[in-house]
């Protein structure tokens, strides 16, 4: 089938590197994320001296620091920049590990976490709330993220039910059903936009995605899904490696391929739905970050899953830093930054490495 990632021969990965502890690159990546996270807090549309930012952070972490900054700076650092950075990091990590999982399950390098309808479903859910006479804000919680989440899960469920052939779910039918469900969802969103053009801007800007409306509340909404998804998927690196053989071979090795595929997709979709619900549809990250990780650390999924999560977090935090501070007081959609910055970097890695074995 066109575009299907043929099995990357496990022999291409030397046995030693498989046994090598994952701790080294993981610690390196984790340190990188932390550094980039703190670094990103120092910049923004408001001109706050970096030392003051650091002292505001220390103050909120409970250290005895004398408060000598205006109240607005406190709000900007602690209520805007910090939750924004955390949300961007969590969404980046979630999209990246979900993308890695999808690519592994579908054995297709073009798979991204929106492949089987998450984005279209979330968009439709959000659209229904945005065009409905419901107020956007009900109490402290906006109904938009909840509706987007429900929409995403509904779309994925429909895709799954459509793709099921008897007891099995062939990946090809799953991709086709996902494409069909996505098309219907997208068409419905376009139709809603057409009949209620008053809200077209709201809808379009939600669909474009971003972190400008980030808050602690949204961070806490996402944390359980992002962490749970990550922790559940992480131990399945080896299973994903086996899955890269043909499904028959995997079965012969004693893997319950059907249960494994469905389980992995459910978890990855759940986490992606939560990410989309709080940040809209941010493209590119779930598709390309797994490849960046693969080019840097090789095709072993035990390493790929954690490393793409860390790269995804760093990448999204940096992209959001650019989105919110490159042209103050303007905000540019973060999806534009991820595509602009990510694609050339990805191409550079691809050309430099020329590790054909990864994709052969």
């Amino acid at each position: 089938m066109l575009g299907v990632l043929r099995r990357p021969r496990l022999s291409g990965v030397d046995a030693a590197s498989l046994r090598r502890p994952l701790l080294g690159p993981f610690a390196f990546g984790l340190g990188g994320v932390a550094l980039i996270g703190v670094f990103s807090l120092l910049w923004g549309a408001a001109d706050i001296p970096p030392m003051t930012v650091v002292r505001i952070l220390l103050y909120h972490l409970g250290l005895p620091v004398e408060v000598d900054w205006p109240r607005s700076w406190d709000a900007i650092v602690w209520e805007v920049r910090v939750p924004r950075m955390l949300l961007a990091g969590l969404v980046g990590a979630t999209l990246a590990y979900s993308g890695t999982t999808y690519q592994g399950v579908f054995r297709n390098p073009l798979a991204d976490p929106y492949l089987i309808g998450v984005a279209a479903g979330a968009g439709l859910g959000a659209a229904l709330v945005i065009v409905s006479p419901l107020p956007y804000t009900l109490g402290p919680l906006s109904p938009v993220p909840a509706a987007a989440f429900l929409g995403a899960m509904t779309a994925v469920t429909i895709t799954y039910l459509l793709a099921r052939v008897g007891p099995v779910v062939p990946t090809v039918t799953l991709i086709l059903a996902g494409t069909a469900v996505s098309s219907v969802g997208t068409a419905a969103v376009s139709y809603l936009m057409l009949i209620d053009d008053n809200r077209a801007l709201s809808l379009l800007s939600w669909l474009l995605g971003g972190f400008n409306t980030a808050s602690w509340e949204r961070v806490w909404l996402l944390v359980p899904y992002a962490l749970l998804g990550g922790l559940v998927l992480l131990p399945f690196g080896r299973a994903l490696n086996v899955l890269q053989l043909s499904e028959d071979q995997a079965r012969q090795l004693g893997v319950n391929v059907e249960a494994l595929k469905v389980g992995l997709l459910v978890v990855a979709s759940l986490a992606t739905a939560a990410a989309v619900a709080v940040s809209g549809i941010i493209g590119f990250v779930g598709l390309v970050v797994p490849h960046i990780a693969r080019l840097l650390w090789g095709p072993d999924y035990r390493r790929l899953l954690p490393m793409s999560a860390l790269v995804g977090a760093s990448f999204m935090i940096l992209a959001d830093l650019v989105a919110r501070s490159i042209a103050p007081p303007h905000e540019i959609p973060v999806g534009i930054v991820t595509a602009f910055a990510g694609a050339p970097f990805f191409l550079y890695l691809l050309r430099r490495q020329r590790r054909a074995s990864l994709y052969a």
């Binding site: 109240r71 801007l201 919110r324 007081p329 959609p333």
Partner: protein, 334 residues
């Protein structure tokens, strides 16, 4: 949803400017549709008008079947007594009530040349050339007056110029001139009163679903604030309808916040409770106000009502301002 950038931009702009919903007051002010229409409009014909795309449009006689594809133009036409010549309106045109009650509604957002041709208009007035609709109508031989009031204009006076243009196009040039003279007088009075005053800094919110959309001084909405001597937190050169980053709003610390998205749930209470916004002077001082987007975001004669209402909101201590026309639409702010 993967529309071309051009469409997205156009759609965004359109969405910005026709943020709709009805304000159910029956107070027509002194600019609305109360003026009785003068059937059989006179005026000088043939008349040649310049379109926004640089082409000329010549009308041989006063049009009697007008399709008006922008809510602002609809308000203008009814205000100058050309309402009887209008046969179809944009679907968001909800004012005056005669326009809202019209049976034939057309979409300016997804304009359909076929739907427009089907009502057999002898003049189409359009503010936004989406999907190449102007060329499509030209090809059908339907006279189109493309008057780009949505994206081009930057001052209230340009709204008035557009009203006068509508007057020339419909044979109501005299009524248009009278209307504009009255409106200009009211504007001048407000500007004069505000001249010596030290205006507050303001933040005007259009929409907040995906970003903090506001207005800059180079927009006709922003011109309201310039005329009132208020200082917009969006500075000149920062765009007409910019999407602001949240921390810039907190950092620039507006003294008054005006919410054109209040009817979509962003009420003063909700906005005051946004995390981090408690540091903003407007929130601390309870000066967050809901305003009616239909009046404030629409380039039409009622923009002067908006100006007068705004004067009262920005300068509560100056009692000389006229009582605001639509303030009853929303609960009085705290």
């Amino acid at each position: 949803m993967m529309r071309s950038i051009r469409q997205i931009l156009a759609a965004s702009l359109l969405g910005l400017l026709v943020l709709g919903g009805a304000c159910d007051d029956d107070n027509s002010g002194d600019t609305g549709g109360g003026t009785p229409a003068t059937p059989g409009a006179s005026g000088e014909f043939p008349v040649t008008l310049e379109r926004a795309d640089g082409k000329d449009l010549t009308l041989e006689a006063a049009p009697q079947r007008i399709a008006a594809l922008s809510p602002g133009h609809v308000e203008m036409l009814f205000a100058i007594g050309a309402g009887d010549q209008v046969i179809a309106v944009e679907q968001n045109a909800d004012y005056p009530p005669e326009a809202a009650a019209m049976e034939i509604k057309l979409s300016a957002f997804e304009p359909s040349a076929e739907a427009i041709a089907a009502v057999d208009p002898d003049l189409v007035i359009i503010s936004n050339d989406l999907d190449g609709i102007v060329a499509a109508l030209d090809n059908l031989g339907i006279p189109v007056l493309f008057d780009d009031i949505d994206t081009r204009i930057t001052t209230i006076e340009e709204v008035f110029e557009s009203i006068e243009e509508m007057g020339r196009a419909t044979g109501h040039a005299d009524e248009a001139e009278t209307l504009v003279d009255g409106l200009q007088e009211r504007v001048d009075a407000v500007v004069e009163d505000a001249a010596g005053l030290d205006g507050p800094t303001i933040y005007h919110e259009l929409d907040v679903t995906g970003g903090f959309f506001s207005v800059g001084p180079e927009s006709f909405v922003g011109d309201l604030y310039s005329k009132l001597n208020a200082e917009n937190i969006v500075e000149a050169g920062e765009g007409a309808y910019p999407s602001l980053t949240q921390e810039a709003i907190i950092d620039r610390d507006p003294e008054v916040i005006l919410l054109a998205d209040a009817e979509f749930g962003q009420t003063p209470e909700v906005v005051s409770a946004r995390p981090g916004w408690e540091a903003i002077a407007a929130v601390t001082n309870g000066r967050v106000y809901a305003i009616d987007a239909d009046i404030y975001s629409r380039p039409g004669p009622r923009i002067v009502d908006a100006l007068e209402e705004l004067a009262g909101l920005l300068y509560p201590d100056e009692s000389s301002w006229r009582e605001a026309p639509c303030s009853a639409c929303f609960a009085a702010p705290a």
